[in-house]
């Protein structure tokens, strides 16, 4: 199980929780699990999110491995200029 | 309304062209003579990217009517190097990394050349005020000023 931090304005979809646990070993599994368990998160996940795993930001990679003790933060999809 | 026939000299070569009365020198340089070094950044004389010399005088070619070129001498960036040999300003700009995207560079080089021909030993302030009519959005001007001053010093020694 991996702990995932959910940003404030999404917490309505996780019963007010800022941190949830899901069973996932890759980024894709994690996002799929989140969408299934918390359907309120699905629209944002479909629009696009980034994941910060142990301090590194990942934008697109499905198969990035996640360790059970990894710090995982859900973030908006990164843009630049 | 028929077009005007204009005879002029560009970078030492005699050229002639037909133009509409309202066409600018910039339009004709770029669209008829394939001299695309001068750029249209604004079309209103505010950015200096179209800088050329008209009888040795620094002008914005977007503010000169093509018809005004009749019988005049025009100098563009394409005439700055002597064949394969770059003008010292061009070389110093490369050495100092005084360009990033390079779109303002032709205009700034023409302007800087006109400055050094008029004032071979300008102070930093004089260089900055002379180039105030040439906008650069990439460099913050620092390396450009250094390149111009370095060239002035080099040319003074020569």
């Amino acid at each position: 199980m991996v702990k995932v931090t959910i940003w404030g304005s999404l917490q309505a979809a996780t019963d007010g929780r800022g941190e949830v646990e899901v069973d996932a070993k890759t980024t894709r599994e994690l996002l799929t699990q989140l969408s299934q368990i918390y359907p309120g998160l699905k629209p944002q996940i479909e629009r696009g999110v980034s994941l910060a795993i142990d301090g590194e930001i990942y934008r697109d990679a499905w198969f990035t491995p996640i360790k059970p003790d990894s710090e995982v933060i859900l973030m908006p999809y990164m843009q630049g200029g | 309304m028929s077009r005007l026939h204009v005879n002029t000299r560009v970078n030492g070569d005699s050229v002639d062209f037909l133009c509409e009365p309202e066409e600018t020198l910039l339009d004709v340089l770029r669209n008829q003579m394939d001299l695309t070094g001068a750029k249209e950044g604004c079309g209103t004389g505010d950015c200096g990217a179209c800088s050329v010399t008209l009888n040795g005088r620094l002008v914005c070619s977007c503010l000169v009517l093509a018809a005004e070129a009749e019988g005049q001498e025009i100098g563009t960036i394409e005439g700055m190097a002597d064949g394969e040999t770059l003008h010292p300003l061009q070389q110093r700009f490369l050495d100092h990394a005084a360009l990033q995207c390079g779109i303002c560079t032709p205009g700034i080089l023409i302007a800087a050349k006109a400055l050094l021909e008029k004032n071979p030993n300008p102070s930093e302030t004089e260089v900055r005020y002379w180039l105030a009519g040439n906008l650069c959005r990439c460099t913050g001007y620092d390396k450009i000023i250094r390149a111009v001053m370095d060239t002035a010093a080099e040319m003074a020694e020569a």
Partner: protein, 748 residues
């Protein structure tokens, strides 16, 4: 691909300052930019634009225009099929209005004609019947429930109830107990800030040359930061396969984020398709201001609590950004970055993105961050003034470090903030004396940076030279850095490498040149491609020598046996191996396709001295120093260039640049005369101090540097002006009339 410190790298080429490969072309006027290419039979394309801020388009009558001799095609939004997704549909609807003109300058119809003169005349003959609607241009006004609605049904599910439909998204970040945090503070300051919209100000207007044949194959030449993005968006809009469209990026005359989308390309393609001829569209400067992508304008409330000895106990920011007439997404970056430089127990940021009748925003260097950090760093500075604390010491006391829980969620790894603060404190600028009406200001800055999809092909020629083919337009000198990294890795001279930016048919997808990603990810890809070529060359040498490939190593540009056991063979240089390559297995190459991650965040600190003329409100910048962590500066001159250029854009943003709208909702200053960017005489030399705290995610330690420099100047300048003028300013730009007004109000 991690940092390569296995042999404690002594770089031979990386870190030096060779000449850039495209330099001679650019100083002689030979380089070809967007508007510099023409094609036989080419038509001139022009776009008719709405003069109204908000209007229903009842009808467009193009008959007189079509009848004009020389007009070969006319298009409106009706000529395009609907696109499958909102993101792309918005881009298309922004090029040509569908149903409603949403801002002054919004494209309504387009023509292609045989000359500039005919094109201009044809536009005048198009008759548009507008039903003018009420408009809104101010961000706070646009949020109110009774505001004119720009677009309906675009609000995301998270937006709180009770606001106008113009509020399209809402974000909240942070951690800790704010109330408890504020209770611990000895001093709390609450302030509201406003910033105006600004434009990236690239000197080259958008330009493209499009050819679309009857069989649907298309060629597009354009100035862009992302040819693959252009291809994907235009192919989707035109209903083509990506492989049918080839996009070649010209040299680009500045982008800064403003050329990461399209404004004219789909129109040019449609006109070309209809007319059967190439169509060139070049925007005028006025069109660039009215109808490309400026930044948001913002309205922000910040509240920060600090103890008497300078510890920040709680921080809160509410940010409201308007991004024009289509849903945008920058407030989330502002809300995430606002307090990023700090180690806080309690922090909360809220952000709203809002629609207005203004042009659709596009990215501008660290999108969303400058205006957020401006507000926070201004309040921190004011607290320092009131509590009589040194502003640098306070930053250092609260600075985020490795292990800090950031304000936006993740825990920081190794970051360079403390090092830049210490460098600033130690610098002579910080302790230089100030004269009357002079003030010193500083600000931290932050940006995320990212990597992204990258493809590079590296080919070894039989004469021992090497070609590197990459797909990212060079906006700041990256071809030099990429060539340097290839030369370093291969162990050959820099001038043996030629790096080119290829068209979209030559390589797999490359993400846009943005996010400060090119030196990082294209560099990483190039190094990997070089390593692939090296493996191949070692294999060739092994076969020539009759030994195992494992027994061959690469050193100083040559293959050699790994030890005495492997055999006594003199080294074979790259040139030697290349010369026989056709007989040893064929042409030699390396390549890389991948998604680069691990870009690493980047911090900076800016220090500025200004002098305010108390009688006119004019501000003169006297001295400016920049401290930024580059990880590893591949070509220091171009890293310095990014720092200086970004800082000056920020200076313009702080002192003079703004979009000015009239009561009628029309843009009043659509030109460089009245949209005042910094000129050479406004500025002193800008001192760039590069720090190098290697990024573990890159083989040479490179961090992105391009965007961070625009973040600190807004607050640094505002803090300096506030201190010099003796009155705290909270609105940008601080143009002379505004400064004077504040000075007079303070005296009264």
């Amino acid at each position: 691909m991690a940092l390569d410190d296995s042999n404690k790298r002594d770089f031979k080429i990386v870190g030096t300052r060779p000449l850039r490969p495209d330099g001679v072309d650019k100083v002689t006027g030979r380089a070809l930019y967007g508007a510099d290419l023409s094609a036989p039979g080419m038509l001139v394309g022009k776009i008719l634009r709405s003069p109204h801020a908000h209007a229903r388009i009842r009808s467009i009558d193009t008959s007189a225009a079509r009848a004009l001799d020389g007009v070969k095609a006319v298009v409106t939004a009706e000529d395009f099929d609907p696109v499958g997704d909102d993101f792309t549909q918005d881009i298309l609807d922004n090029c040509l209005a569908r149903g409603k003109a949403l801002y002054d300058g919004h494209g309504v119809a387009a023509i292609a004609a045989t000359s500039e003169k005919v094109a201009r005349l044809a536009l005048k003959l198009i008759v548009v019947d507008y039903e003018i609607l009420p408009h809104v241009t101010d961000v706070d006004a646009a949020m109110r429930p009774d505001a004119p609605v720009v677009l309906s049904g675009r609000a995301q599910e998270n937006v709180p109830a009770g606001l106008s439909e113009n509020v399209t998204s809402y974000f909240e970040f942070g951690h800790g107990d704010l109330e408890a945090g504020f209770a611990k503070a000895d001093k709390i300051i609450e302030r509201s800030f406003k910033t105006a919209a600004t434009h990236q100000g690239y000197i080259e207007p958008h330009a493209c040359l499009a050819t679309m044949a009857a069989d649907g194959r298309a060629e597009l030449w354009c100035c862009t930061q992302g040819p693959y993005m252009v291809r994907d968006v235009c192919a989707a809009i035109m209903g083509l396969d990506s492989s049918q469209m080839r996009v070649t990026s010209s040299e680009i005359g500045g982008g800064f984020g403003g050329k990461t989308t399209v404004f004219i390309e789909p129109v040019a393609l449609a006109l070309s398709h209809k007319s059967g001829r190439p169509v060139k569209i070049v925007m005028s400067r006025e069109e660039v201001f009215r109808a490309t992508g400026p930044t948001v304008s913002s309205s922000t409330d910040v509240k920060i609590g600090m103890t008497a000895d300078g510890r920040i106990t709680a921080g809160q920011a509410h940010l409201r950004y308007q991004g024009g007439a289509f849903p945008c997404g920058t407030v989330e970056f502002g809300a995430q970055s606002a307090f990023a430089p700090y180690d806080l127990d309690a922090v909360r940021t809220l952000g709203w993105n809002v629609l207005t009748n203004r042009p659709k925003e596009a990215a501008y260097r660290a999108p969303g961050a400058p205006m957020a950090i401006y507000a926070v760093e201004s309040v921190v500075d004011e607290l320092c003034q009131i509590l009589s604390l040194d502003p640098l010491d306070v930053r250092m006391k609260n600075a985020a470090k490795k292990g800090t829980l950031s304000s936006y969620g993740p825990t920081f790894n190794e970051i360079g903030l403390m090092a830049t603060l210490e460098a600033a404190k130690a610098h002579p600028h910080y302790s230089a004396p100030l004269g009357p009406n002079q003030g010193r200001g500083l600000s931290c800055g932050f940006w995320f940076n990212f990597g992204g999809n990258t493809c590079v092909s590296l080919n070894v020629n039989t004469d021992g030279t090497v070609g590197v083919t990459e797909g990212n337009p060079d906006i700041g000198g990256s071809r030099a850095s990429i060539g340097m990294m290839a030369a370093e890795e291969l162990g050959i001279a820099y001038d043996k490498i030629r790096t080119i930016v290829a068209d979209t048919s030559s390589l797999g997808h490359n993400d846009v040149t943005d996010g400060s990603r090119v030196t990082f990810s294209v560099g990483l890809a190039t190094i990997d491609a070089a390593r692939g070529a090296i493996r191949e060359m070692c294999g060739r040498a092994a076969r020539i020598w009759g030994i195992d490939a494992d027994a061959v190593v690469w050193k100083d540009g040559a293959a050699m046996p790994s030890g005495a056991n492997a055999g006594e063979f003199p080294p074979m240089t790259l040139a030697e191996i290349a010369a026989s390559s056709h007989s040893t297995g064929g042409p030699i190459a390396g390549h890389h396709e991948g998604t680069a991650d691990g870009a690493g965040v980047s911090f900076g600190v800016h220090l500025v001295d200004v002098e305010t003329d108390m009688e006119t409100g004019a501000v003169k910048v006297l001295r400016y120093s920049i401290f930024q962590d580059a990880g590893k500066a591949v070509h220091p001159s171009y890293v310095e260039g990014q720092m200086q250029g970004g800082a000056v854009q920020g200076i313009g943003w702080a002192l003079n640049e703004e979009y000015i709208y009239g009561e009628d909702g029309r843009l009043q200053n659509a030109g460089f005369l009245d949209y005042r960017v910094p000129v050479a005489s406004d500025l002193p030399m800008i001192e760039p101090v590069i720090l190098e705290i290697p990024n573990p995610g890159h083989p040479y330690g490179v961090r992105g540097v391009g965007e961070t420099p625009i973040v600190p100047p807004l607050a640094a300048i505002s803090n300096a002006v506030s201190r010099s003028a003796g009155v705290r300013l909270a609105e940008l730009p601080m143009s002379p009339p505004k400064v004077l007004k504040a000075i007079k109000a303070a005296k009264a």
